[in-house]
């Protein structure tokens, strides 16, 4: 494998909070060695599964997120295993570790012990709340991360409990993993100048907090307006959110004056609504203050056509409108099909499966669909691809 990270030795001890990042690094040439306990990385137990595959090789999470990596089984609770892990850590350029803040330290295999002998090591420590502070030993899931960030409180309908964005997609953990990869490359640049690695203290809670300025904590101190969940429309202005067409939902987002102007002209043409074209509604704040009126006009317009009709006509008029896609709709989306987005990878135990194509295009060869490894597939000889 080639790429800008060729020759980089990565020991990956992490599960969902690190995997998406090391998978990206692997596709750029890094030798990512998943060091797994005898029972396997926890991701191997995550449903949904491929029918008929052996227990440890069936998870579609593993099949996707471990692509391009290698697997060695090492049990650090045994003397032999601890020595094997120690050797790998001493040779590593990057370690991605999502154990508790003290877990590896207790085995003498934490950052401090390893860095004494391997001062170049870049150690990405991923913990729920970071390695300091009163919650350093707390547990946290994807749901908990959204709860702690302030985002969860603002998502959902008023008459039901708040609900996590993206639900089962585990976005907070994937975001953490992306930040792990970012931090590793930042630290590599430093190492090239100083010769020294360092500890990176990544918190899952902070990976959720960093994407949540829109829920307004910093705004709140200015305006003292209590943020509440507002269903599937946003209070900032209107139309802004989900609106019903005759056969499903579409999303409309209008902030820019030219977008409103275009929609207002459409309302005028289609519904004879002249009031909508009054310049006073060009101000997004005014539209927020008159949201019932604006929503009523909008619903009248979109209720008269299907999602697809509304989507295409709105886009023809340059208005930011999109359909609310299901997973099935994505797999059959005409744009994704036309650009050849969907690809295939091999499952660890054999058979092909659809996966998203590259998250980016490049003039560089930075992408690979090499399959995820079977448990312990690369245990012997234990070591590095490039050694």
């Amino acid at each position: 494998m080639s790429g800008p990270l060729e020759g980089l030795k990565v020991v990956d001890l992490s599960a969902l909070a690190g995997a998406y990042g090391t998978r990206l690094m692997a596709s750029m040439g890094a030798d990512v060695l998943k060091v797994e306990p005898p029972q396997g990385n926890p991701m191997r137990q995550l449903a949904p599964f491929a029918d008929g595959a052996p227990e440890n090789e069936a998870s579609l999470w593993w099949a996707y997120l471990a692509m391009g990596t290698r697997s060695a089984v090492v049990d650090p609770r045994t003397d032999e295993g601890a020595e094997q892990l120690r050797t790998l850590l001493l040779e590593a350029d990057v370690v991605v570790d999502d154990q508790g803040p003290d877990e590896l330290d207790e085995l003498g295999l934490g950052y401090a012990a390893i860095a004494r002998e391997n001062p170049g090591v870049i150690w990405i420590s991923i913990t729920p709340f970071g390695r300091s502070g009163p919650k350093r030993d707390w547990k946290l899931t994807n749901l908990g991360a959204w709860a702690a960030s302030g985002v969860l409180y603002t998502v959902g309908f008023e008459d039901q409990p708040p609900v996590a964005p993206g639900g089962p997609a585990q976005l907070a953990l994937h975001g953490t993993a992306l930040n792990g990869a970012i931090s590793a490359l930042l630290a590599l640049r430093v190492r090239r100048q100083t010769g020294r690695g360092q500890l990176v203290d990544l918190a899952i809670s902070e990976a959720a907090l960093m994407v949540s300025p829109e829920t307004g904590t910093t705004v709140f101190l200015d305006d003292r307006v209590h943020r509440v969940r507002s269903g599937n429309r946003r209070t900032l202005s209107r139309p802004f959110g989900l609106y019903p067409c005759s056969d499903g939902y579409i999303s409309i987002l209008i902030l820019m004056p030219r977008h409103w102007e275009s929609l207002a002209n459409w309302m005028h043409e289609a519904m004879g609504n002249e009031a909508a074209t009054d310049p006073v509604f060009g101000d997004m704040v005014v539209r927020g203050e008159t949201m019932e009126l604006i929503d009523g006009w909008t619903e009248e317009l979109c209720g008269s056509m299907t999602c697809l009709e509304f989507f295409q006509e709105a886009q023809r008029r340059g208005i930011p409108v999109t359909p609310v896609s299901t997973i099935e709709a994505l797999l059959t989306d005409p744009h994704l099909e036309a650009v050849g987005f969907w690809e295939q990878t091999e499952l660890p135990a054999g058979g092909e499966v659809a996966i998203p194509g590259p998250a980016f295009r490049s003039n560089m060869d930075w992408w690979s669909t090499a399959r995820a490894p079977r448990l312990g597939e690369h245990s012997t000889p234990l070591g590095w691809h490039t050694a």
Partner: protein, 456 residues
């Protein structure tokens, strides 16, 4: 210690990952500005190219507390907290790129930069002559990263379409995944994950591009479709659909893997707690603590049974949590090894001990407001930590400085552009005001001196 060693150590003290890297950023709203913000915190010089003739959306949002205040009208474009959230530590260079001389100045600056990042439409970049090939012609080793909504292939069906973060989320499937199973999609409405996740991909790819360039001397082009980058986070569901025809949809706060997981009511109005029992051990611990007979209830004795009987389980847990204050219960559950956290409001976050201890919010000066409050960078490299020096810039605040010192233009050339309304400087720099948040900062920073004005 010799003077040389001392000097070198002092220099190393200031060294950050991106010291010396210059970034040309043509960004609006979040996706591209958030990239520059991440890079700036690690030492890059980031030039935000903008224009009062076609303002960034964060300049249009403004602030409610300034509405109808004509005297302070020039402050309005600087007043949205998003200005700093998305642009802290950057320099603003204001140029009208639609004028040939403005574009020429931008190209002169671009020739001196390492990185180009933009989320304006691919078509707009072509029209400006700032597409990858054009930029590479003036800067052969540029790391060029663009992140339009739908990529930059003019042949693709959605290429001309417009979509911003909040309506990218529905398109990429996130809204369908958000909400309770028995209701219409709740939508992600309040945040825009595709903007941020595209930005995180882009940040990573800028860094990978710099690695590539430093190794091979090549110019690098990265084209991120926000649409595709976010779907990349849904891989397992796509695989599942291809194998079984089952399309994962919304399941409230429940887990695909274990139960209970959910958001449950507590004492008080709109007070909630999120609880997850990821394994039997955590469940047994919860059952023992609650002492409601759950430990011996056959409906709940294995994870499989708990998932089958999840409606009854959630109802039982919700009834039990309702007697607790949420913060108190979160502490009690964590003490018993159970993942739990209050569903934090803004007030909760401002008073949160962990947020304070970790310094997740910062105040820094900028030229318009005495102090700006914004979220700290979270890439905590312990030896070369992120540094946030100042809040977001005012439009054109650094136009003269950057065009003369970096782009190599003469003072007279820059002044001529300003006289022609092609380049712009900060509007009404004498207007400096305090934000309303000023009077509340003592809540966020209680351990500091009583006079919070000394904080910056």
């Amino acid at each position: 210690m010799t003077d040389d060693v001392a000097a070198e150590e002092a220099a190393n003290d200031d060294l950050q990952a991106l010291t010396g890297v210059k970034v040309f950023e043509l960004g609006i709203a979040i996706a591209s500005p958030f990239v520059g913000r991440n890079l700036a915190a690690h030492g890059a010089e980031v030039y935000k190219i903008e224009s009062p003739t076609s303002p960034d959306i964060v300049r249009l949002i403004g602030s409610a507390w300034l509405r109808d205040n004509e005297e302070l009208a020039p402050v309005m474009p600087d007043s949205s907290p998003y200005v700093s959230e998305m642009n802290a530590d950057k320099k603003s260079v204001a140029l009208d790129l639609k004028q040939p001389s403005g574009l020429a100045a931008a190209r002169q600056l671009l020739a001196e930069c390492d990185v180009f990042v933009a989320n304006v439409t691919a078509r707009a970049l072509v029209d400006l002559g700032l597409d990858f090939e054009a930029v590479r012609a003036i800067n052969p080793t540029v790391v060029y990263v663009q992140l339009p909504g739908f990529g930059s292939d003019p042949e693709s069906p959605y290429y001309p379409f417009v979509a911003w973060g909040p309506n990218q989320a529905p398109l990429v499937g996130l809204d369908d995944l958000t909400g309770h199973a028995d209701r219409e999609p709740a939508g992600v409405a309040t945040i825009a994950p595709p903007d941020y996740y595209a930005a995180l991909h882009a940040t990573y790819l800028v860094l990978a591009g710099l690695e590539q360039r430093d190794k091979t001397g090549e110019g690098v082009h990265v084209d991120i479709s926000q649409f595709e980058a976010t779907i990349a986070l849904l891989g397992p569901f796509a695989s599942e659909f291809s194998l079984t025809g089952n399309g994962q949809s919304r399941i409230g706060n429940r887990s695909l893997w274990y139960a209970p997981e959910g958001v449950y009511p507590c004492q008080g109005h709109e007070r909630w707690i999120a609880i997850s029992c990821e394994d039997d051990e955590q469940w047994q611990s919860l059952a023992a603590f609650a002492a409601k007979g759950w430990a011996t209830d056959a409906r709940f004795d294995t994870n499989e049974h708990r998932m089958t009987n999840v409606e009854a389980l959630d109802a039982a847990v919700a009834e039990w949590t309702a007697d607790f204050a949420n913060e108190d219960l979160a502490h009690r559950l964590q003490a018993r090894g159970i993942a739990a956290h209050i569903v934090a409001t803004n007030e909760d976050l401002i008073g949160d001990s962990q947020v304070r201890e970790r310094g997740n919010y910062l105040v820094r000066p900028n030229s318009r407001f005495k102090r700006e409050l914004f979220t700290a960078n979270m890439h905590r490299l312990t030896e070369t930590p992120p540094i946030n020096v100042r809040g977001g810039p005012s439009t054109g605040e650094h136009t003269v400085e950057v065009l003369t010192e970096v782009a190599g233009m003469s003072e007279a050339e820059v002044q001529a552009l300003i006289a022609d309304d092609v380049a712009f400087t900060m509007d009404a720099p004498e207007l400096q005001v305090e934000r309303p948040s000023e009077q509340w900062l003592h809540i966020l920073f209680p351990s500091e001196a009583e006079d919070t004005r000394d904080l910056a």
